[in-house]
C-alpha cells in the first residue's frame, strides 16, 4: 500500500517524458555496436573539454570515497586496538548514532549554505574538517574525544555530499545526457570505496602488523566455548593506523582542493542558467498575458 501510494505521488510529481516508442529506442541501441558506444562515451568523459568540470568533480568524489573506505573499514579495528574503549562494539554503535545525528542536523543548512556561498566553498570547508578528523584519529587514545569529534564529522560529511551533488548538477555539460553522466558520477562511489579498503588493507598489513592477537567478536554467552567466537586477528600498531589514516586525510583534502579552480566556472554557469530560466519564464508569462488579452477582445473588433 505504501509502495502504491508513493508510486502514485511520485508519478504525479515527475514531468511526463516525450513520447518514444520501444522500437525507436531499440533501433538506436542496435545501430552502433556496444564497443563503439563505450569508446565514444570514454572519449567524451576523458577527452572532451566540455567535460573538464565533470572530470574534476568525479575525481574529487573518487578521492573522497577512498578516504571514506579507509574510515569505515578500519575504525572498528582502531577502537579495539588503540583506544581505551571498554566495549568497542557498543561504542561503535554510539559513534554511528552521533555521526548520523550530526548529518541529520546538517542536511538542510548544508543546502542553504551551498546556495549562499557556493557548492565549491562548502566542499572545501567540509573536506578540511573531515581531513582533520582522519588526521587526528590515529593519535587518539581516549574514546571520549572521538565521541566529541564524530558529530562534526557527520555534519561535514553531509555538507560534502549535499554540496557535491549540487556541484555535479552544475558541472553537467549536456542536458540530453544528464542521466548517463550522473550514472558515471554515482558509480565512482563504489570504485573509490573499494580502492580505499583494498589499498589500506595491504598497507596496514605491511606496516602495522604486530605479534599480538585479539578476538573482535563479543562473547555474551558464558557457556560458549572460545572456538565458537571465530579466529583471532593481528593487532595493528599505531604506525599502521598512521600509514592508512594520514593518506586518507590527504586524499580527502586533495579531493576538496582540486575542485577549487571550478568555483568561478560553476558560479558563472549557475548565473547563466538562472538568467536563462528567468528569461524563459518572462517570455512565457508575457505570452500568457497577451493571450489572455486577446481572449478578452470582442469578436467584432477583429
Amino acid at each position: 500500500m505504501v509502495t502504491l501510494l508513493s508510486n502514485v505521488a511520485l508519478l504525479a510529481a515527475v514531468p511526463p517524458s516525450p513520447p518514444r516508442s520501444a522500437e525507436a529506442l531499440m533501433s538506436e541501441v542496435v545501430e552502433a555496436p556496444w564497443h563503439v558506444r563505450v569508446r565514444q562515451v570514454a572519449g567524451e568523459w576523458c577527452g572532451s573539454e566540455a567535460y573538464h568540470p565533470w572530470r574534476r568533480v568525479v575525481l574529487s568524489r573518487t578521492l573522497y570515497y577512498f578516504g571514506g573506505g579507509v574510515f569505515s573499514g578500519y575504525i572498528l579495528f582502531f577502537l579495539i586496538d588503540r583506544t581505551d574503549a571498554k566495549d568497542p562494539l557498543s561504542d561503535m554503535s554510539v559513534l554511528a548514532v552521533l555521526a548520523l545525528s550530526g548529518s541529520f542536523l546538517a542536511a538542510w543548512p548544508a543546502g542553504l549554505l551551498s546556495d549562499s556561498f557556493g557548492s565549491v566553498a562548502c566542499v572545501l570547508v567540509a573536506g578540511v574538517i573531515m581531513s582533520a578528523v582522519y588526521a587526528i584519529i590515529p593519535t587518539l587514545i581516549h574514546i571520549e574525544i572521538l565521541f566529541f569529534v564524530v558529530p562534526f564529522y557527520g555534519a561535514a560529511q553531509m555538507c560534502y555530499n549535499v554540496a557535491d551533488l549540487a556541484m555535479i548538477t552544475a558541472a553537467l555539460p549536456n542536458p540530453d545526457k544528464r542521466a548517463r553522466d550522473m550514472g558515471g558520477w554515482a558509480a565512482i562511489e563504489n570504485i573509490g570505496g573499494a580502492l580505499g579498503g583494498l589499498i589500506s588493507g595491504a598497507v596496514i598489513t605491511l606496516t602495522g602488523s604486530s605479534d599480538q592477537t585479539v578476538n573482535d567478536i563479543r562473547d555474551d554467552d558464558d557457556d560458549a566455548g572460545d572456538d565458537d567466537n571465530g579466529g583471532d586477528r593481528t593487532v595493528y600498531t599505531q604506525v599502521g593506523y598512521l600509514s592508512i589514516f594520514w593518506p586518507a586525510a590527504l586524499a580527502v583534502l586533495v579531493s576538496a582542493l582540486i575542485v577549487w579552480p571550478l568555483s568561478q566556472h560553476l558560479r558563472a554557469r549557475t548565473a547563466d542558467a538562472s538568467e536563462t530560466e528567468s528569461k524563459k519564464a518572462e517570455v512565457k508569462n508575457a505570452h500568457d498575458v497577451r493571450s489572455n488579452q486577446l481572449l478578452d477582445i470582442p469578436h467584432d473588433e477583429f
Binding site: W108, S114, V162, M182
Partner: protein, 195 residues
Amino acid sequence: MLGASVLDDESEPAPPPKDVGLCRVTAALLYNLVLSFLQNGLTAIIVPQELSNFAPDKAALFTGILIGAGALINATSPIVGYFVDRAGRRPLLMFGAALVSGGVTLFIIGATSRSLPIYFTAYLVTQIGTVIMLTVFNAMVADLSASMPNKAGRISGIYGFYGLVGSMFSYVAAGILFPVSKKNHTVHFTISLLW
C-alpha cells in the same frame, strides 16, 4: 487593428516569473526515503544475516558473492543512465519500481520457503530495480537543479535528508524492531510491513 496594437504593446508589464516551489521537489524526492530504507536495511543488514541462517557453513561466501554482484550492478549505472536519457524518466522509473516490488515479493517467497536460489534472485532483482530508480532520481535532481539553479543546494539537501532519514529508520527497524535471528525468523514480516 486593436488586436495588433495589443500584441505590439510593450508597455504592459509582465508579471514576475513563476518560480517552481520546493514542495514539488519534496514530493518527487520523498520516494528516496523508501528507497534508502530498502537499500540500507534490507540489502545491507537483513539479507546477510538471513544468509547465515539459511547456510551457516557458507554464509560468508554467499554474502561475498551477493556484495560483489551488487557492486557490479551498481557499476552499470552509466548504462542505465544512457537508457534513462533515451527513454525518458517516467518509463524507467515505473520499470524500476516494478522490479523492486517484484524483488520484494520474491524475498517474501524465498524467506518463507527458505529457498536460497529464490533469495538470490530476489536480491539481484531488487538491486537492479534500486539502481534503475536511483539513476532516475539522480537525473531528476539534475533536471530540477537545472530548472532552479539558485536552489540546487537546497534540492540536494532535501534529497540527502530523505536518504538519511530512510537509512536511520532502516537501521532501527533491522537492528531493534525486527532483528533477524535463528529463532525469530521475521524477515518476511518486516518486508511485508515496510512495503
